[in-house]
């Protein structure tokens, strides 16, 4: 079992990640990942069948920065915010300074006109590097349960 300090460090990373997205400080988001990393948003359907393609995939921090730049400067979408609720942070294993972590999330989406809906629910499957000053995601796989995405997915989960 992971020690309490590790548990707290991991939960703090998860909380900071969520705060950056939900408070529209997306520019901070790539900074939670290692330079070479893996981030993917994929349906449970594809994930369980071993099908590799999802909604978004990145294998570098640069690709995450590009996502933010595209959302800020290029892509056109109705103004919207998320509210993440993250729970049940389970550290499955810690070895060689890397924690394997699972947690559940619920994301509410609030559109500019105030319409709030349950946008996505699912799991974060994380591989977190603990050796640096702050823990960082080497890998974050977002497995969403809802299969159908309403209208579009712009902001990362």
């Amino acid at each position: 079992m992971a020690d309490i300090a590790t548990q707290l460090a991991v939960e703090r990373l998860l909380a900071r990640y969520v705060a950056s997205i939900d408070e529209d400080r997306l520019e901070e988001w790539p900074g939670y990942f290692t330079e070479t990393c893996r981030y993917q948003i994929i349906s449970r359907e594809n994930h369980e069948k071993g099908l590799p393609i999802g909604v978004f995939y990145a294998d570098s921090r640069g690709m995450l920065q590009d996502r933010v730049a595209a959302l800020r400067e290029a892509n056109i979408y109705e103004a919207q915010r998320y509210r993440h609720l993250v729970s049940a942070t389970l550290i499955d294993q810690v070895s060689d300074g890397v924690a394997m972590v699972r947690s559940n999330y619920l994301v509410l989406r609030i559109m500019q006109d105030g319409v709030l809906s349950v946008f996505s629910a699912g799991r974060y499957l994380d591989r977190i590097e603990l050796s640096g000053a702050e823990p960082l995601f080497q890998e974050r796989i977002v497995v969403f349960d809802n299969k159908r995405i309403d209208t579009l997915l712009a902001i990362p989960l």
Binding site: P52, A74, N75, K147, R148, L152
Partner: protein, 407 residues
Amino acid sequence: MAELAWPREGLTRVPYAVYADADLYVRERQQLFMGATWNFLCLEIELPNPGDYRATFVGDVPVIVARDWDGSLGAFENRCAHRGALLCFNGTGHGREIRCVYHNWTYDLKGRLTGVAFRRGIAGKGGMPADFDPVHHNIRALRVESFAGIVFGTFSAAAPPLETYLGPDIATRIHRVMRKPIVLLGYNHQLLPSNWKLYVENVRDSYHASLLHLFFTTFRLNRLSQEGGIIVDESGGHHVSYSKMATDRQSADYDGAALRATREGYRLADPSLIAGRDEFGDGITLQILSVFPGFVLQQIQNSLAVRQVLPKGVGDTELVWTYFAYGDDDDALRRMRMKQANLVGPGGYVSMEDGAVGGFIQRALAGAGEASSVVAMGGAEATSQETRATEAAVRGFWKAYRAHMDL
């Protein structure tokens, strides 16, 4: 609704009422989706083995498509002939027969009734009447044809053979993409808050591409002067839009963008996303192909997918994306497809706007009354053009639509 009178301008006008009318929605099901059209059911690779079946839709009509034990394909309504319950409600299945969970009526993989539970009753009591003949209680079946690994079905005896329906121009360009064995890479399902026709028009609308989708231009990855054009088939209903981003020029642009900040200062931090490969050898970096009414085959650089457009009510549509690759891809090409999937789908850099823009029209319909939208770019015809600054393929859709709908 009151009989819809099409504006006298013809193909260059589309009455807003077509996106909002519940009676028209029912007529579309009858005359269009269940009429003399061929509708995408699945890819052949999704039914690899005899006995495999899966639930799909023709329009909003639930259908089962199956590979029978002799390898042949069949399709029939996903509705028990007894009380009308869904037969396949978990998406996919496998077996020698399909059994309705409600009263255990069974069907073979062509939808023929093979068994009625307690047909002779129990201990001589009950049971079906003596004159009950299962032959008269088969499920309504579709004609099924596969073309280049893509399975289509039609409810209509009057529809021409599939290849005739597609015509040579469309068939050739389907073959261009479906040229060797494929493997499945994944699915995405997207709910569009709009009438289904707003999405299939969007697919045929090459005019909006460089105006609504700013990803390529913002990051200086594209040239608007690129070679390309539109092919509209004889019926108007099918189309191909294609363009060539000269790959050398593209990489030069992109190298330049990576080396020096452009005036606006936007460049990709990791340009590996667009380091595509000319795997077709013809320089065509984009080919969007539609088959009337609701099928799309897409090649956007190295991202390959089919899209199935499914009406879910007057103002709601489901878009199903099925991504694929070739079985003989090398690792680098497979990774490229993974990355370039970021261009398309519900969160795609060059497609996310399409998920919303139909909804922007749908939300503005109230009060439009008898007004019409204007579809006049590139003239009044619905024919092939050597430019993408045209709405010819949108007019083509309405030409075919009106023919099927007697409008």
